[in-house]
């Protein structure tokens, strides 16, 4: 009977293999490439940000396999790639500790490994988001209309009047009168009645009581559109895992900085010596 320590050691070595990394990267790219034509006409992914991942996999994912199978494969591949990256990085860091004295050059050499760990943290953060994020999509507001009451956010949201900025140039005739910036301001009223006003735009959410308020859509998008009614559609999200991937992103920047510094350090050392 084989020694269990040898089995674990063999598995550990295989899990950190560089060949495995290349194969997994290739398969991940292949899977993503094959997914492109499949997701083009699919609406199955629309609720992915609103429903938790497990429920999505059991419903939308399971019953739309023609367009979602690649996503199941992607999850498996990303899991394997994460394990491979983790093991590989640990192996390399142990090797560095064994072979180097603690010095500036040693710290600089840690750069690539820090970026790898950062990627793992980012992936974990996104997984956490898809598993635990609370989302309230499709909430509509009329500027100047009644406030939106949502018990879960412990307050009310009111849309202020649009302060739109239209395209008035003459170089692009087709865009005449199109909205460049909706200039949407929301007023948040908490349970004590205190108010705060914040601007929202695509990619510029407002923050209220720990919830992020995203602009999903708005009407009208041009001077002549909207059939007289003005609407702002928002999505409310509370993401407990956001700090995880933000930490990962910060770590990635640090790792990248060390990697760049190592490059210049080596160049300078070569020149000097």
């Amino acid at each position: 009977m084989m020694n269990p320590i040898i089995i674990v050691a063999t598995l550990w070595k295989a899990a950190g293999s560089l060949k495995l990394s290349v194969a997994l990267c290739f398969l991940t790219a292949l899977d993503a490439a094959l997914a492109y034509p499949l997701i083009k006409d699919s609406t199955a992914f629309a609720p992915l940000g609103d429903v938790d991942l497990i429920n999505w996999l059991l419903t939308y994912g399971r019953f739309n396999l023609k367009s979602t199978a690649w996503f199941f494969v992607l999850l498996i591949l990303l899991t394997l790639l994460s394990i491979n990256t983790f093991v590989c990085s640990i192996q390399r860091v142990i090797f560095l500790f064994r072979r180097n004295k603690i010095s500036l050059s040693f710290f600089l050499k840690l750069g690539p490994h820090i970026t790898h760990f950062a990627v793992l943290i980012i992936l974990t953060g996104y997984l956490g988001t898809y598993l635990f994020c609370a989302s309230l999509p499709g909430r509509a507001l009329t500027p100047g209309g009644p406030p939106l009451k949502v018990n879960r956010i412990k307050g009310q949201i009111k849309a202020e009047i649009f302060e739109p900025l239209y395209y008035e140039g003459d170089r692009l005739d087709f865009f005449q009168g199109r909205l460049l910036d909706p200039g949407i301001y929301l007023t948040f009223i908490d349970q004590n009645g205190s108010q705060c006003k914040q601007k929202i735009a695509y990619g510029q959410p407002a923050i209220f009581n720990g919830w992020h308020v995203y602009l999903s859509d708005f009407y009208p998008k041009d001077k002549s559109g909207g059939m007289g009614s003005k609407t702002v559609n928002i999505t409310l999200r509370r993401d407990p895992a956001a700090f995880v991937y933000l930490t990962g992103l910060a770590l990635f920047v640090i790792g990248l900085g060390l990697y760049t510094a190592d490059f210049f350090y080596k160049k300078t050392s070569k020149k000097d010596g």
Partner: protein, 391 residues
């Protein structure tokens, strides 16, 4: 190792190119996949049996003792039997008690689908005045005082909403939600930001059915429409493909049906080419006038949005008078054919099988010899009398 990596990347590039090889210039090669699903949705039926129904943006998920309904705005409502306890985590206006007894409905399509379910008696308020209706069951409702006019969709009368004692409002306008929240009334948004595909159009009845407790009628309705689609496909198989366009030029805008809309998919299913197949987005999407006119030069058939009876537009000549720019659109010359919907067309989704068949008959008149149009008017070259007599 190096050769493995090179071979792998070569393989990847080959696979990336592979899906594009089968596409022709109008991208209609992607069509059969969508339409097959519309006609043969066995997979979807399996999911319905498992308590999950997903139609485009709309979803129903069966839970223990209640259902979750995701509407066109992405809001999730709890649908519970009357008198059952409210599931936790849902605000009172996000809970709908079924079967519905009194509903207000904005969309003509929804009204017709409710009629297809045999529950037009539950409609007690609409946003089209009595003289805007061309279907008897709603006209009768007005005459009997059973149905009230809520006011224009942009300015509904909240007093009427309050006094109508409603169970639910079905609307395409999510901006009414905050006001309805204040009135304590649940809202179901039945429109989506992206145009409805053919599969969703013919199966939407299954989404609404549980709200009225009429699942069997929904199945019967769907089977009828499915049969008509199968017949269309069989009748038009192998025929020469006419080129069709659907849209209109207005004073400042050009609006068309995008390639992902149900009519575009139906045109594809009925062995025809839809000229705005590459346009994607909302129903009645805006495109450039140049693009409209460019496609118009190749078109054989043109469907206008303008309702024949209402815009007093009964001929190609009249249409050209309104829009001289349309002069370059081939179907508006004697060489082509143009069609306008009759006033009752948009209120007749309860006869969806007939609507689909009529569009197929317009596309392939040779395959439907002797077919008499009921929902569209073929525009004559010159002005004639009102078409209302033909309907």
């Amino acid at each position: 190792m190096k050769s493995i990596v090179i071979s792998a990347f070569a393989g990847l590039i080959f696979l990336l190119l592979l899906p594009r090889c089968g596409q022709n210039e109008s991208a209609s090669a992607t069509r059969p996949e969508i339409t097959d699903e519309a006609v043969n949705p066995e997979v979807k039926e399996d999911s319905a049996e498992a308590g999950f129904l997903n139609l485009g943006e709309f979803t129903l998920i069966k839970k223990e003792g209640y259902m979750l309904a995701r509407d066109g705005a992405g809001r999730t409502l709890a649908v519970i039997p009357r008198g059952a306890p409210h599931p936790p985590g849902f605000e009172p206006t996000m809970v709908v008690e079924i079967p519905l007894r009194r509903v207000a409905v904005y969309s003509w399509f929804d009204v017709a689908i409710i009629n297809a379910l045999g529950r037009a008696d539950t409609i007690v308020a609409v946003t089209t005045p009595e003289d805007g209706w061309h279907v008897d069951y709603i006209k009768r409702g007005f005459q009997e005082g059973r149905i009230a006019f809520l006011g224009d969709p942009g300015a509904i009368d909240y007093e009427t909403v309050k006094t109508s004692n409603l169970d639910l409002i079905m609307t395409w306008d999510p901006s009414i939600v905050p006001m309805m929240d204040q009135l304590g009334l649940p809202v179901l948004v039945t429109a989506t930001p992206i145009a409805t595909c053919l599969s969703t159009q013919i199966r939407f009845v299954e989404f609404l059915a549980p709200f009225f407790g009429e699942e069997q009628k929904a199945k019967d309705f769907y089977q009828k429409v499915k049969l008509s689609l199968e017949q269309i496909r069989a009748k038009t198989k192998g025929l020469k493909k006419p080129k069709a366009m659907w849209g209109d030029i207005y004073e400042k805008r050009v609006l068309v049906e995008p390639g992902n809309a149900w009519v575009a998919e139906l045109i594809g299913l009925a062995q025809s080419d839809y000229l705005f197949d590459d346009v994607y987005g909302t129903s009645c999407i805006e495109i450039s006038v140049e693009r409209f006119l460019y496609s118009g030069r190749d078109a054989d058939l043109y469907f206008t949005y303008r309702t024949a009876g209402e815009s007093k537009m009964y001929s190609k000549e009249a249409l050209l008078r309104i829009n001289p720019l349309l002069e370059g659109v081939k179907p508006l010359t004697p060489a082509g054919k143009a069609f306008a919907p009759l006033p009752h067309y948009s209120q007749s989704a309860d006869h969806l099988d007939e609507l689909l068949t009529e569009i197929a008959a317009i596309l392939h008149p040779d395959a439907y010899q002797g077919y008499r149009l009921k929902y569209f008017l073929e525009l004559p070259d010159k002005d004639q009398q009102s078409p209302n007599t033909q309907s």
